[in-house]
Symmetry: C2
Subunit: 514 residues, 2 copies
């Protein structure tokens, strides 16, 4: 796969190169969003205090389980928690005190310094879908994901203007043994893209491999002094921290690499059916997880995560884009900011099996909520389908396009004299029109966000061209982007070293598929 | 058409009636939304003052045109404006002074008092799409709308839980002569539904007919003392008030009936390409229009309207669900509240030709923005397609379903002890699950909003059932609702009087089709 990458660039000179320049699509990456609009807040000060007090009660009286992890239990004991079996009860105030050393924002470096991102504050960084075992597209339908699919998604993410991050397990490459997948996935992120990426969390040894590959890519010293990965540590809600995830967290925190500490909640199953109850549990879980990260290494960068869906009580299916999930997310954003922590939530969430209207309603609800709730790191910001079981190629480019609307909204309302446009109103006057006026001529190119996927043609033209729906238009865009993909340049020695690392590592392993 | 209405009810007795009860879908109408969440505000106090000052400058120095309306010019002259030809220049402060008599909220009565709505304050009233000459559905494709289509939409609106209002010209019944359409449309709203509705604005005489029909429906005295219609008065932006719309406004305001005074703006064509410039013009236009309504009758109920779309500068097509339109709407909501006026904006806006993903993204963006911007009256809240050229049956029920998410979000976060769910968290503990716990059992039925259209089934079931997309599911719902429609009961004498009024009125007219 990635063999083609730096070599192709190396090979292409002279006429071929010039032809490529002429036909290439412009590859542009927008800067991460810096909000010039307020956050939307649904909880009063009084409500926030109730939830915070209740979360401390959960930690102190009910406690959390650290499973199969004696070292973690010892760390908690040493820190002053009460440990009974695997149950850790954290006295009031202790978690908050430990959390205080976590930074309120941090830079995740990309190999292309222009694409490094600052996570926290008023910023929003968008990363693609994470985790689906299946992919879907118009041509092939729904099928198990392969490494070829994975690489195609990494290329699409690289080509997507409004995506700031290459993500992690964009889909599960099920044709690669489980114990080797992380190597191929990291190699793809590192070579096919120059955007920041995530590390492996499925085993502490794979986290260590991720760090080692970053040392090759960025240099050992750079990795020791800088954050180059943001990885996803899920909590098994309710209130259970398993040894695999905690093992990966321990590796990353020790190496000063960032982790999202994220409860994974289907409301009514893994948390109470009420918004306030869910927020209480989420807060308690995140506080315990982040406090633990700071026990490993005070100052390790972390993100307050909240993955929340609701449930259809008839089918038991998780449901997305629902008001209750939005209310939890708005509230969680407030709680994260009060702890001074970056916040992760939202995404292109939907339950639909197809990239159809259901998928788009649910996704748009969730993306808007993500912007407004103050999310700093939006995992799953494009490509999610069927409750996260499927990564959709068409939906990937539809959603990535919609992320442009978040960039536009976040700008707020500029109020310079040119923006006030009084000269234009005078020039045009009652009954006129603005299409030709000087102000419009000077500003129309940047005035309005414009979709690269949607149809804006007159009905008759659209009809003559085949009356295509959004999925068909998106399918075209996928093909167009992939056809025009050119890998970012890379030092051939680094490339060779990465390839060698992966080959050597694989040679020491037998294949595991479970 | 409506002949079947009260009689069918009259006829059905005994066994037939009981059978009907068993198979009927439950007809439930939610109360209009009373927000328990804040409004989202994008303009600072400083920005608001700049825009207000600029709008006063527009009124005082540029002015607005009242076309073919000498009486209006005289009213303005008498009120202290400077009139030159058809241009009315309104001295600083005068419009604001006149606006002060407009109520900040008002009740629009429905013939079923349970369905009366209070427009203003923290409330949101949802009304269906208005104006499309075409309809579309899966069976018939895109075609000119007829009165049969119109009646079908009125029935769907009546059956839709989250719709509070029957609307006005839900589609244009193009098979009825232009000069008679309003009579059939009003008769349909009055007899096939018991929700509040809108009056005709296409000619002052039709506004008078609307008032007269309401006098039959509600009683003459009731109409004189109460608002029973909210009608749509568009301003021809930029800054032009035509005699037809103003003539209708004059009729309604005189009769204490409500009007939405609404600039109709495609940004970059009818207003400047900048958000601040558009807001300035919108404010000036609405201030002039509402001030004029108060010249007609101080205290007449009015709504600050803002219909804003952006434009695709390539095709000239209006675009929807875009960030710039959202920013204008958020800002307009702030400006309306500062004037103490109810606010109308947003809707199920989209440019797509089909009820596909594009339609849903654009619509969801717009609906969310409507809730968050403090809209009090949401016209076009369901059914809008293809930039408003088409009313879609499938999209009508999809959008009407999505309005449920707005109801859920607006509830905010209840914080009673039961909501805090501490007993549930204690009962379940680390590693457990909430599906069976007492708190879940007591609350699951009302805990989560649930779509009546979307698919929540497991993939395999969905696939076996034909792998249908949202449009197909919505088509089923349309058929189901229409099959189960039962007209609301009505006094047969009133019904007969309305039918007679329409017949008599039509008998005095020749057919006009333009």
């Amino acid at each position: 796969m990635a063999e083609e990458t730096p070599r192709r660039r190396g090979r292409s000179g002279g006429g071929a190169s010039r032809r490529a320049e002429r036909t290439a699509v412009k590859i542009e990456t927008a800067k991460y969003i810096e909000r010039n609009i307020p956050n939307f807040e649904v909880l009063s000060e009084e409500a926030l205090v109730v939830i915070e007090t209740n979360a401390e009660t959960v930690l102190a009286e009910i406690g959390v389980n650290f499973v199969d992890n004696p070292a973690a239990l010892q760390r908690w004991r040493d820190a002053g928690a009460e440990v009974e079996g695997e149950r850790v009860r954290i006295p009031r105030g202790l978690a908050k005190k430990l959390i205080a050393t976590a930074p309120s924002e941090f830079t995740q470096h990309a190999r292309n310094p222009e694409k490094s991102v600052v996570i926290g504050g008023k910023n929003l960084v968008c990363a693609p879908v994470y985790g689906p075992p299946f992919v879907r597209d118009v041509e092939g339908g729904r099928r198990y994901a392969t490494i070829a699919d994975f690489e195609k998604f990494v290329k699409l993410a690289y080509m997507s203007k409004w995506l700031h991050h290459s993500g992690g397990t964009v889909c599960e490459p099920t044709d690669i043994p489980v114990n080797k997948r992380h190597l191929d996935m990291l190699l793809a992120h590192m070579t096919l893209s120059d955007k920041p990426f995530m590390g492996s969390v499925t085993d502490p040894s794979r986290a260590r491999d991720s760090v080692e590959m970053c040392e090759i890519l960025f240099g050992k010293e750079f990795v020791q002094n800088n954050t180059v990965m943001t990885s996803l540590i899920n909590i098994n809600s309710p209130m259970t921290f398993d040894d695999v995830m905690m093992g990966a967290l321990e590796v990353y925190a020790k190496n000063n690499q960032a982790c999202i500490i994220s409860p994974f909640i289907v409301g009514g199953a893994m948390a109470p059916v009420s918004v306030a109850g869910t927020l209480t549990q989420v807060l308690a879980e995140v506080m315990a997880g982040i406090a633990y990260s700071q026990l490993i290494r005070p100052g390790a960068p972390v993100i307050f995560g909240a993955f929340v869906s609701s449930i259809d009580m008839n089918s038991g299916a998780p449901t997305f884009g629902t008001p209750e999930a939005s209310l939890v997310t708005y509230g969680a954003g407030q709680l994260a900011r009060r702890l001074g922590l970056p916040f992760r939530s939202s995404g292109s969430f939907c339950g639909s099996k197809l990239p159809d209207a259901q998928a788009a309603y649910e996704t748009a609800n969730s993306l808007n909520m993500g912007l407004m709730s103050g999310v700093n790191f939006m995992l799953h910001s494009c490509g999610w389908l069927e409750g996260g079981l499927v990564a959709s190629f068409e939906k990937f480019v539809m959603d990535a396009d919609q992320l442009g609307t978040l960039h536009g909204l976040a700008k707020g309302v500029p109020m310079e004299e040119e923006d006030q446009a009084m000269d234009a109103i005078r020039e045009v006057g009652p009954g006129g029109h603005y299409l030709g006026c000087a102000h419009t001529q000077a500003n129309f190119k940047t005035a309005f966000w414009k979709s690269e996927v949607f149809d804006y043609k007159p009905f008759e033209t659209w009809d003559e061209e085949g009356a295509r729906d959004t999925t068909a238009l998106a399918s075209d865009r996928v093909a167009h982007l992939i056809a025009n993909y050119k890998a970012p340049s890379m030092d051939p020695e680094i490339y060779a070293a990465l390839v060698a690392y992966v080959a050597d590592k694989k040679a020491t392993m037998s294949d595991a598929f479970a």
